[in-house]
C-alpha cells in the first residue's frame, strides 16, 4: 500500500533561475503513514517552513515529487483541492486570524467556504470545537475574550472543521504559558489517539518533541539530517548539536551524570524515564 504522503527527492529554491541557486530544501525523501505523530525540528532557516508547505500544496517543489496516497500531485488529473482538504495547515500564531463575533461563527468560516449546507457547517464547527476542548456553553462566546491558549485552540478548531486527516502545525505552543502549553499538546495527543488525525508539529522544544512525538525529523541547511523513532534520534547528541539543536533536558541531566562516572543510560525522553533510570542505578 502506498504511504499517506510521500516526498521523493524533493528540492526547492526561491531563486531557481540563478546561476547557482540557493536551496531552501535539498533532496529530501520521506514518507508519512496515517496515524503518526511527528515532530519536525531544525534551527531557524533550516528549511522547516518551506518543507511543510509541500504537504498541503502551498508550494510545489522545484525538483522531485510529492505523492498523496501514491498519486503524483503534479499529474494532470490530480486536484490540489483534495490535498488541501486532507491536510490542514496551522500557521504560527493562528489566533491572529480569528475575527468573527462568536466562536461558532468563526469556526464555521471554513465549512462555509466549502459551500456546505448550513446544518452541516454548524455540525462540523461544533464537533471541531468539542474536539479541542470547548463545550456548548462556549459556542456563543467572543473568541477575543478567551485566554491565549484557548484562543489558539479555537483557531485550530477552524482548521479541524475542514475534517483534514492530517494536521500540520508550525510551533503550536509558541508563546503559551506552561499550563496552556501542556493543555494544547495533550489536546493534540488526544486528537491523534482518538480521532486518528495524523500530526506533524514543528517545534523548537526538544522536550515537547521527546514527550509527544513518536518520530522525529531534523533539518539542517535544507537537508533532512535525521529521521527515525524519537528515542533513536535523540541519542545522536553530537550531530544534533552540530545542527544547532539539542537533546531534551532530562537527557542532559543523565549525560552530566555519565560524565561524572555514574553508569546511567542517557536516552531518557521524559522526567519520569530519567527518574526511573537514576533509581535503577542507585538501587543496585
Amino acid at each position: 500500500m502506498s504511504a499517506f504522503l510521500e516526498l521523493k527527492n524533493v528540492s526547492y529554491s526561491y531563486d531557481p533561475q540563478a546561476k547557482e541557486p540557493r536551496w531552501a530544501v535539498k533532496d529530501v525523501s520521506l514518507s508519512i503513514e496515517e496515524g503518526e505523530f511527528i515532530a519536525l525540528i531544525g534551527h531557524t532557516g533550516s528549511g522547516k517552513s518551506t518543507l511543510i508547505q509541500f504537504f498541503d500544496g502551498l508550494l510545489a517543489p522545484t525538483e522531485g515529487q510529492v505523492l498523496f496516497q501514491g498519486q503524483d500531485t503534479r499529474e494532470k488529473g490530480f486536484s490540489m483541492k483534495t490535498l488541501r482538504q486532507n491536510v490542514g495547515l496551522v500557521f504560527q500564531y493562528p489566533e491572529h486570524q480569528l475575527f468573527e463575533m462568536t466562536l461558532l461563527k468563526d469556526v464555521c468560516y471554513g465549512p462555509k467556504n466549502l459551500k456546505l449546507p448550513k446544518e452541516e457547517q454548524e455540525a462540523r464547527a461544533k464537533e471541531a470545537l468539542q474536539l479541542v476542548g470547548f463545550t456548548e456553553n462556549d459556542f456563543d462566546r467572543s473568541p477575543f475574550d478567551l485566554s491565549g491558549g484557548r484562543k489558539r485552540r479555537a483557531a485550530i478548531a477552524g482548521v479541524l472543521a475542514m475534517k483534514p486527516r492530517m494536521l500540520i502545525l508550525d510551533e503550536p505552543a509558541a508563546g503559551l504559558d506552561p499550563k496552556g502549553r501542556t493543555d494544547l499538546l495533550e489536546m493534540l495527543t488526544k486528537l491523534n489517539r482518538e480521532n486518528h488525525t495524523t500530526i506533524l508539529m514543528v517545534t523548537h522544544s526538544m522536550e515537547d518533541a521527546a514527550r509527544y512525538a513518536g518520530r522525529v525529523l531534523a533539518m539542517n541547511k535544507g537537508k533532512l539530517v535525521a529521521d527515525g523513532p524519537t528515542r533513536e534520534v535523540f541519542t545522536h547528541f553530537d550531530e544534533l548539536q552540530e545542527s544547532g539543536l539539542s537533546v531534551p533536558e532530562p537527557a542532559i541531566a543523565l549525560r552530566a551524570m555519565k560524565e561524572r562516572g555514574i553508569p546511567v543510560r542517557t536516552d531518557a525522553l521524559t522526567t519520569e524515564e530519567a527518574r526511573d533510570e537514576i533509581l535503577r542505578v542507585f538501587q543496585k
Binding site: G45, G175, A253, T271, F282
Partner: protein, 315 residues
C-alpha cells in the same frame, strides 16, 4: 566620591508604587465603552544591576508591567520611577526610553535598516549622536554582540538569534542602563536562545546593565538573580529562583511549573534519594547525585572489606 555620597546608590533603580493600569476600550464612535484592569496595585523595587525574570500566565500583565518602565504606558493609578524620575513627568520622554530599551518577541518586526550596521546606527542617530561618535558606537556594540563580521549584511539573511543580537546592539548603541526583554527568546531555536541569553547575562555581569526578562521558560528564569511572578494583574511572588522554585504548589496554582532539573530532583527526593532542596540546573543535580553515588560506592566497598574480614576470621 567626594563629601556627598551618590544619592542614586541608595535609590531604587526601578520602583512601582501601588500601580494600577486600565486599558480603555473604545466603541466604533470613539466613545469609551469599558476599561480592562490589567494591573492592580503593583509595588515593586528593582536594584541597579539586577537580573530579574518575570513569570506569569498569559494575560497576567507581564507585558503591561514592563511597558511602564520605558514609558510606553503610564499608570492609571500610582507611580513608576526610573532612577528616581517619575515616568509621567519625564521630559523629554525619550530620555527614559534611552535608559530602558525593549526587545520584543518577533525578531522580524524589529529590524529597520537595510544593513546590520545601519540598523544599529538608527537609534543613536535619531538621538543626534555626532557621526564620529556614532561610528565608534556601532563598531563597539557590534563587537560586543559578536556580529562584526556581519556589519554589511542585510538583516534578512540572519538567523533569528542573530537578528535579536542586532536588536540588542541597537539598544546598546544608545547606552542604556536597563534592557527589557519581552519573551525575546520565544521564537528562537535552542542555539539562538542560548546565544541571546549569554549576551544579556554577560552585559549584566560586566557592565551592570539591569535586565528584566519576561519568559514562559522556567530554565531561563532559574538563571536570574530574582524572579517575579504575576497572576491576574498582581505581583504574587518575588524571591530568588531557589525560593520561588521551592514553592511548587503555589506555582502550579498560578499555572506555572518548575525547571526540568528541579522537577527531576524533587521526584528523586520523593523516591528516597538524599538530594538537597534548591536544585535549579542539570549540572547541580548531577553534582549532588555523584556525591551520593561515591558515598554509596565507598560504603559498599567498606561493607565488602568488612565481610571479607569476617570470612578471613572463619577461615
Amino acid at each position: 566620591m567626594g563629601m556627598f555620597s551618590d544619592p542614586s546608590r541608595n535609590m531604587s533603580f526601578i520602583e512601582f508604587r501601588n500601580v494600577s493600569y486600565d486599558y480603555t476600550e473604545y466603541g466604533t464612535d470613539d466613545t469609551e465603552i469599558s476599561a480592562v484592569r490589567a494591573l492592580t496595585d503593583v509595588t515593586l523595587d528593582v536594584k541597579e544591576g539586577d537580573f530579574v525574570a518575570v513569570l506569569g500566565h498569559n494575560g497576567s500583565g507581564k507585558s503591561t508591567m514592563i511597558k511602564h518602565i520605558n514609558a510606553i504606558l503610564f499608570p492609571t493609578e500610582g507611580t513608576v520611577l526610573l532612577t528616581g524620575r517619575d515616568t509621567k513627568e519625564a521630559d523629554p520622554v525619550w530620555e527614559i526610553r534611552r535608559d530602558a530599551g525593549m526587545i520584543f518577541q518577533n525578531p522580524d518586526n524589529q529590524i529597520i535598516g537595510t544593513s546590520v550596521e545601519e540598523d544599529v546606527a538608527f537609534g543613536p542617530e535619531n538621538m543626534g549622536v555626532p557621526t564620529e561618535e556614532l561610528e565608534k558606537r556601532v563598531e563597539e556594540t557590534l563587537e560586543r554582540v559578536g556580529l562584526t563580521a556581519y556589519r554589511l549584511r542585510s538583516p534578512n539573511q540572519l538567523s533569528g538569534g542573530q537578528k535579536q543580537r542586532v536588536a540588542i546592539a541597537g539598544l546598546l548603541a544608545m547606552r542604556p542602563k536597563c534592557i527589557l526583554m519581552d519573551e525575546a527568546t520565544a521564537m528562537l531555536d535552542p542555539e539562538g536562545r542560548k546565544e541571546v541569553l549569554e549576551i544579556v547575562h554577560e552585559l549584566n555581569k560586566t557592565e551592570g546593565i539591569t535586565v528584566l526578562l519576561v519568559t514562559h521558560n522556567m530554565e531561563e528564569a532559574a538563571g536570574a538573580d530574582r524572579v517575579i511572578v504575576m497572576d491576574k494583574g498582581r505581583v504574587v511572588m518575588t524571591g530568588t529562583p531557589k525560593e520561588i522554585f521551592s514553592r511548587t504548589d503555589e506555582l502550579v496554582g498560578y499555572g506555572l511549573t518548575l525547571p526540568d532539573a528541579t522537577l527531576l530532583a524533587n521526584e528523586l527526593r520523593e523516591a528516597g534519594l538524599p538530594i538537597p532542596a534548591g536544585i535549579l540546573t542539570e549540572e547541580e543535580l548531577a553534582e549532588e547525585l555523584s556525591k551520593i553515588y561515591r558515598a554509596q560506592k565507598d560504603g559498599a566497598s567498606i561493607e565488602k572489606k568488612e565481610s571479607r574480614g569476617q570470612e578471613d576470621d572463619i577461615l
